[in-house]
């Protein structure tokens, strides 16, 4: 935060002083408006979602809304299959991405020599830049056939989606956990190594526990990233709005996520119909979930306050 010195009126020639001040007054207020606009925008997003999606929660009986059947053609809007679809894909992605992301962050932050870091970090930034539609396309033409050949009934399954999503959330998890590791003071490591701990013991017993809250944030934001992903998931999960039979095989069944439902069906609904309202209603659910995740992550950052000054967020 910048400290603001109190400003004395600058001495200027009499003619240009008022004009300058009016000009500056306008500019400074425009800047303030730009800052406040972020709050206004997020408020507007929620308002417009409510305006279009609110009726869904009023018009559909709650028992149906949480029911297990999503058949818009028959006017049945049960969100459970979509919630389960999103949950399966997201949990699968997190199980794959969190350990791999954390390990990569540990390698980058604690083990890799500088020249490797110079190569690897831009590569990971590039992964973050690959459009989701391109990864979805690759999942569709390359990964899905592989999974089908491995013995699944179809290649378009929750698992396929989880793999692609895991890949897409890796950059988030890696960069935020690396920030967290970086913020652990060097003295901690020196102290551990000086009393004879090996590098692994230092990482496992000292650095990781010290970076704990940052790693929790990384996982949370990774989840937020995964649950909101649309195009790639829509292309590779098979889009079947059924709840797969509970069991270890359920991850290899086709599912349909909340995001994919919005994307796939919005083009075909009549504006103002209950189906249309319900798709916006799903948007409200997504908004609330991600808002909760991000606010919570923001709060964790806040409580740690000044100790972490170098990291992003």
């Amino acid at each position: 935060m910048t400290s603001k010195p109190s400003l004395a009126t600058p001495s200027r020639t009499a003619e240009d002083a008022p004009r300058l001040r009016i000009g500056e007054w306008i500019i400074e207020n425009l800047i303030r408006l730009a800052g406040l606009s972020t709050i206004v925008i997020i408020g507007l997003i929620f308002l417009f979602l409510l305006r279009e999606g609110g009726p869904a929660f009023l018009d559909i009986p709650l028992r149906q809304l949480f029911g297990t059947r999503w058949y818009p053609i028959e006017g049945i809007y049960g969100l459970a299959p979509l919630l389960v679809g999103s949950l399966l894909v997201t949990v699968g992605a997190v199980i794959i991405a969190v350990p791999l992301g954390l390990i990569t962050a540990i390698y980058l932050g604690e083990i890799a020599p500088p020249w490797q870091r110079e190569i690897l970090k831009p590569l990971i930034e590039m992964l973050a830049g690959i459009p989701s539609i391109v990864l979805g396309f690759l999942g569709w033409v390359a990964l899905a056939p592989l999974i089908q050949n491995a013995g699944a009934a179809t290649g378009l399954t929750a698992f396929t989606g989880a793999v692609i999503l895991a890949y897409m959330s890796l950059p988030t998890i890696i960069s935020i956990s690396e920030d967290a590791l970086y913020a652990v003071p060097k003295e901690y490591r020196d102290g551990a190594l000086a009393i004879g701990a090996t590098q692994w013991q230092t990482i496992w017993r000292v650095v990781l526990p010290a970076a704990r809250s940052g790693i929790v944030i990384a996982v949370m934001l990774g989840i937020g990233r995964a649950i909101g992903e649309t195009m790639a998931v829509m292309m590779v999960t098979g889009n079947a709005a059924n709840i797969p039979a509970f069991g270890s095989g359920m991850i290899f069944e086709p599912v349909r996520t909340m995001t994919a439902t919005i994307a796939a069906e919005m083009g075909e609904v009549a504006q103002g119909s209950l189906h249309y309202n319900t798709l916006f209603g799903i948007g409200i659910v997504l908004f609330v979930i991600t808002f909760a995740i991000n606010s919570l992550a923001g709060r964790i950052v806040g409580t740690r306050g000044a100790r972490r000054s170098g990291g992003k967020l």
């Binding site: 910048t2 603001k4 400003l7 600058p10 400074e28 800047i31 303030r32 730009a34 800052g35 406040l36 606009s37 972020t38 709050i39 925008i41 997020i42 997003i45 417009f48 979602l49 279009e52 390990i103 540990i106 390698y107 980058l108 890799a112 690897l120 831009p122 990971i124 930034e125 590039m126 992964l127 830049g129 690959i130 459009p131 989701s132 391109v134 396309f137 569709w140 033409v141 590098q199 692994w200 013991q201 937020g224 909101g228 649309t230 195009m231 292309m235 995001t259 919005i262 994307a263 798709l279 948007g283 997504l286 908004f287 991600t290 995740i293 991000n294 606010s295 923001g298 992003k312 967020l313």
Partner: protein, 281 residues
Amino acid sequence: MNRQQTNRLAIGVITGLAILVVIPIALVILFVFYNGIGTINWEFITAAPRNGMREGGIWPALLGTIFLTFGTAIISFPLAIGAAIYLSEYAADNRMTRMVRLAIVNLAGIPSIVYGLFGLGAFVLFMQFGTSILAGSLTLGILTLPVVISTAEEAISSVPQQFRTVSLSLGATRWQTIRYQVLPHALPGILTGVILGLGRAAGETAPILFTVAAFYLPNLPRSVFDQTMALPYHLYVISTQVPGMPLSVQYGTALVLLLIVLSLTLAATFVRTSMRRRREW
């Protein structure tokens, strides 16, 4: 197993897994390149699709993405720079500022499809812009705000405090100080943010689904109130919606999109590194 061996094993496993994570990234890019490069020629870039999009080129979609990217820049740039200046130069450490920061963090976390819904509800229907380049640019512009704001704020905050103190002590006003001392030094960092934001906007599909993107258009758009084809949506259409689509055209389209987005990412990285090298403080 003693602790030295455990150490060696653990470090070895970490190294191996980290390499396993990173190699596929390079492979993915090379894979698209290898399969798509044969399709790309002058006609593919500059011709309109023919024969149910199975032949011809991608020009209308490419042009649409260029229009949308420019539109995004026009919407997002002034607002984001303003917000970044506000946060680093004007905002007091109070409740309001914390709310602004919370809003930015949350804007960054909102799923892109929800931005699409917002664009549909607010711009297409409520403001009656229709499915149009204007509605799409507004939606993408808002989507890119958080990236541009946080990068630009970091750049502005990293200008040393002495620059401001000296300028103010010479009688410059606060705005003159920002305009002539702070912004010029922060410019490369701000540019990095803008380019990153544009890279994001160029590759997004979900926000343009209901706000601007057209399945197929025989004519190029003539005004900002027209629909347009766009490259990411075009890739979605030709890979899932058109039967009998040759794979080569799909890979070619994917490669063009990938090249656009990656060159923007690389440009941002380049601006940032050259800025670090040149910095004199």
